[in-house]
Subunit: 235 residues, 2 copies
């Protein structure tokens, strides 16, 4: 009933190339937005907007894109399973750390500009996402890497690891989309043109991010045999 396993492998590899192209476009767009339109990036500045600018850059390139690469690394790289497992967990760890720094920059910007924290849906869901992501990473590390659960525990855990990981990643994408809309709404209420260059750039960045995330989720969902170099299993 489902497409054949070999067709699945070809589709997964092809779509993972498409994901790379979308990642490059998304990363370029968020840098053009923050640097060209919003004045650049800074950790310390009297222009507090430059501190905020770190937030979308770290969340999109650091959290969403590196997290997505971590998810598809199993299907996209022709390496041994043990190597890919290390790549998977290291990329997710880097994504988690850059995501946490990215969230910190939003608080830093708010605090230094006298803006309230944690009142918006974007912030609420975002805090939920990073917490679930950390829990997922710790559980995965303990069960699948070190010290590692029993074979039966791994077998039971794997489909839930995939399901829960996919859920958290989709929620991360939704949160990023909320963030683009929220920031652009603030900018438009302070005079940025609703149909202008910058508004279109931000909305297209959000749409490219959704397409990238969709490619990631579909690649991860395509069945590939566990014994294949491109597959994965619980052991």
């Amino acid at each position: 009933m489902a497409p054949s396993i070999n067709a699945g492998k070809g589709t997964a590899i092809g779509l993972s190339y498409a994901a790379q192209a979308l990642a490059v476009v998304g990363a370029a767009l968020v840098l053009i937005w923050t640097i060209h339109f919003r004045g650049g990036l800074a950790w310390e500045s009297s222009n507090k907007g430059l501190i905020f600018n770190l937030h979308p850059v770290l969340m999109l390139i650091g959290f969403i894109i590196l997290g997505g690469e971590a998810i598809i690394s199993y299907k996209a790289l022709p390496l041994t399973k043990q190597t890919k497992k290390v790549i998977h967990l290291v990329l997710h760890a880097v994504a988690l750390i850059l995501g946490a720094i990215g969230i910190y920059t939003a608080f830093k910007y708010h605090n230094e500009s006298g803006i309230a924290n944690l009142y918006s849906l974007h912030s609420w869901i975002g805090i939920g996402v990073i917490s679930l992501y950390a829990i997922q990473w710790i559980y995965g590390f303990i069960i699948f890497f070190y010290p590692g659960g029993s074979e039966s525990l791994r077998n039971v855990s794997l489909p839930w690891h995939v399901l829960f990981g996919t859920f958290v990643y989709i929620l991360a994408l939704a949160t990023a989309t909320l963030g683009f809309l929220e920031k652009l709404t603030f900018l438009e209420s302070s005079g940025v043109a609703k149909y202008g260059q910058e508004a279109f750039l931000v909305n297209f960045t959000a749409i490219i991010s959704i397409l990238y995330g969709t490619a990631v989720v579909v690649v991860s969902a395509i069945p590939v045999p566990a014994e294949d170099d491109f597959g994965y299993s619980a052991i």
Copy 2:
């Protein structure tokens, strides 16, 4: 490796009860918001806000909740496959029609209030979602109902019908979440308290909607044997 098929059936039925409870809560919250906090619903009124209020009610109860019920009806109802197929396509048709009316109310509100149309990410993705939803419905109707494709075409189409339908539904949920954030951001910039009752109500409505949608997607993804009353197949 995956949980057993019988465990899947029980989980699917249990989770579909949870979805019903979340649907009732979500519907109640959006009515409390629009009627109690925002003054009520009206098709024609000099208070244009009452026209807008139809939009979240129709999109959440009509589009998201009825669409979700359409998706899980296969797994949630112990009826014959042919009956469930009719329920599935009729509920989706009603959801599509109420969704289209709901989108019309947003344009009507904008036009009668002198507000620009189609500049926000919410509106862009929303137009995309309703278009994809309509395409998905028409393709499903032709292939699986009338006149119906060949057995091999149905077999090839079914996994893509499920995958594409899930994608569109998740995108619909993301769009609803964007809508709650956008409206609340406008309200807060016109004086609604950022940590007040109404702000919390709107954000909780959005979170309940996400939980409902998650339950729907998980129920639809749980494997149940095709020959079981709760399963579905291409024929």
